[in-house]
Symmetry: C2
Subunit: 492 residues, 2 copies
Amino acid sequence: MKTAITPTRSENYPEWYQQVIKAADLAEISPVRGCMIIKPWGYALWEGIQKELNMRFQETGVENIYCPLFIPMRFLEKEAEHVDGFAKECAVVTHHRLEADKDGKLQPAGPLTEPLVVRPTSETLIGDMFSKWIASYRDLPILVNQWANIVRWEMRTRMFLRTTEFLWQEGHTAHTSSEEAVTQSLEKLDLYAEFCENILAMPVIKGEKSETERFPGALNTYCVEAMMQDGKALQAGTSHFLGQNFSKAFNIEYLGEDEQKHHCWTTSWGVSTRLIGGLIMTHSDDDGLRVPPRIAPKHVVILPIMHNDDTDELLEFCKSIENHLKKTTYHGEPIRVTIDKRPLRGGEKAWSWVKKGAPIRLEIGRKELEQKSVFMGRRDLGYKEKKTLSIDDFYTNITALLDEIQSNYKNQAESFQKDNIQVVSDDKALYTCFKKNTGFVAGYWCEDANIEAQLKKDLSVTVRCFPLDHAEEGPCIFTGKPGRWTIFAKAY
Amino acid sequence: MKTAITPTRSENYPEWYQQVIKAADLAEISPVRGCMIIKPWGYALWEGIQKELNMRFQETGVENIYCPLFIPMRFLEKEAEHVDGFAKECAVVTHHRLEADKDGKLQPAGPLTEPLVVRPTSETLIGDMFSKWIASYRDLPILVNQWANIVRWEMRTRMFLRTTEFLWQEGHTAHTSSEEAVTQSLEKLDLYAEFCENILAMPVIKGEKSETERFPGALNTYCVEAMMQDGKALQAGTSHFLGQNFSKAFNIEYLGEDEQKHHCWTTSWGVSTRLIGGLIMTHSDDDGLRVPPRIAPKHVVILPIMHNDDTDELLEFCKSIENHLKKTTYHGEPIRVTIDKRPLRGGEKAWSWVKKGAPIRLEIGRKELEQKSVFMGRRDLGYKEKKTLSIDDFYTNITALLDEIQSNYKNQAESFQKDNIQVVSDDKALYTCFKKNTGFVAGYWCEDANIEAQLKKDLSVTVRCFPLDHAEEGPCIFTGKPGRWTIFAKAY
């Protein structure tokens, strides 16, 4: 069977991924090494993610701010693990103008006395700010977030998943107690999980990272891990309990009710445009992108099938459908609908929306106009299954239909995840699983970092997390010592 | 009379400006030279601006995208005027990691073969993209916009008005004809003017820039100019007709219906966080910020005046007011309301919201609870004028009240602008006006750049624009030659 995407997932998964992005016109490689251009359909996904997360952050008392792009080098040096973690991948600004040399060629000029680093993350700047903003326990907690661009110099990039510049949100909070800070980290982890599952229809495993995989400078990193259709893991979001590391490095102190000075306990948490990579690899098929309705830039696309003699009337009918849908509320917002009037053949036009993954396509021709009906295609049922509905039936059912599509995507992704987690009780079974390349493997592990390093070397497998919903310990599958329940996987 | 802001506007306008920002907690100086930290109340203003402009852009068919932060140096070189305009203020990335030297001090390492410039604007990158995206007249027009951070190295910075890093939107379009491109530029100018006047309550003069003041690489720059309370001009937004300069530099060509290749005609247009500076200086008074309701982060602030014995009941009453208001629609959206429960004295609490400029404050104490009333203060009427309204009257009138406040701000700003434009018919009168420092001066000018330079030297006055609503020519006030109607002013 001919598919819209060549190669298919089974033929060449990484190349299929690039082709889905291209076919849906989500983004493209830029002339700037390692950076991408996010195009309208891709950026609309990001705007949807922003809107949904902003709503959720606000409900938990988080306020948005904006911090500088540049970080003085001395700031980065203050937290030892932090600088170790990021020094190898920093874009460094060393000059503040360009000047023509004697051959007329531009050269950097105006050297800075202190180089500036383009932010790889903002804990250090925030640390400095918190130290100025916080004086007393009455100022706490502080809960802020920013939406920003981030630069980490990457040698091997892949669109949305790993790019030198990416977009993200980073939340930063400060608290009077360790317990409150841990609670905050876990609350945001729950928020991410709920968002991934209900909006992106992407099931995730909530867990804690191994020491090796922690954020540089964190006491503990919590994560949500999703499974892609090739069985690999994608870290969809992280939430860090930073303890007092940054508050000690940056003197974030408060005067307590006891009239003594104390260091704050801080957290940070973030998700990035890599969520879009996760969305693509969770739902798309060999005909292209599939977007769950809750995050779809358009819920319904109306495709007028025009002939010479009935164009006006047909467009009027399409317009009336558009207006009706715009007045219909889906999860608190008007249905997002567009009429595609481009002068393309019907098939070509319909295919373009299949590849973009719009949940519902309506083809409206002379017959539909006469019958006051719509010829509807659902992206979740593939390209071929289409049916005629009376316009009234369509209006009555549209929100239920969108919810049904949302559920279908979620259920499919959940089944896939469930079917591709193998529980093992010895190391041989683990090696066998990964030689077959079958998704996640779960088993007990004693947290020995040497074993972790060996797995990476032998199988390119990493410890993804200790799932939070499985607290009981058991005998390590490698050593027999007491171990924690662990998810192992290859990862993006 | 004691004012919340010291110094007052008449005592020291520039310092008053800084103090208003501080008192309203909009932003603060960051440890990074020339950059600021935008705090929640300030960032919420920016989010409001984004929302309103996005709505308007979308209605005109503009789609949002995101382009890389970095621009290869060779791109900047392609358009000669453009590079001249920006080379002197570019942050240049020359290295991609940090490495400890033998003394353990971090140093830039991993030199780049080609330096990257942090975008001072994105015409060059967009030019490169357009050249790839556009093949045929069928691909045109292209209308895109991005919200992004921008870096221009500034030696003398002032928060919101002039900072090394700032936030903005930049729209970029490509067309098949000069006329269509000019129409697009003017359409976006109208959009900015309508937005400034109706949302920010900030009257603007729409005009065309003199050749000296044009965007580097543009054939024509249109602008909206606002008058601040010290009589200085603020360029609130610009829209550039770029002609074929960038399409020739970047080979943006299309195959026409005539089957011939043609260069496109392009435009770009933008507004930035400096709009917030304009908002502050248009409306604020000696008690701090005043925010027009259409852009206010909160329309109504509820201040419970708590006593020990009636706290629960009082808060419940406040909560019921909050809930009612959240269900009330103001210009298509729920009224934005908050309850301020901070443990501060009533006066201190009320003052904090005066300084932040929230349009309506409700003080709710035992009396109001018993009477089912609100004690209301309106920011547009100053701090002292407050009155008691029954809760039902308040509910009935709230949206009309907000509109009235909006109109008051707009009317005040319009009167101020009108009262501070002096029409002159000779150069002596112009010099006299500016020696008295009285706002804008209007008169005919023959467009001689030497005169422009002289005015700058003598008076620090620049040509702000040729107002679009005054096309007739007249005798130049300097030379008597035919001249265009011109606005002169000192400017931010």
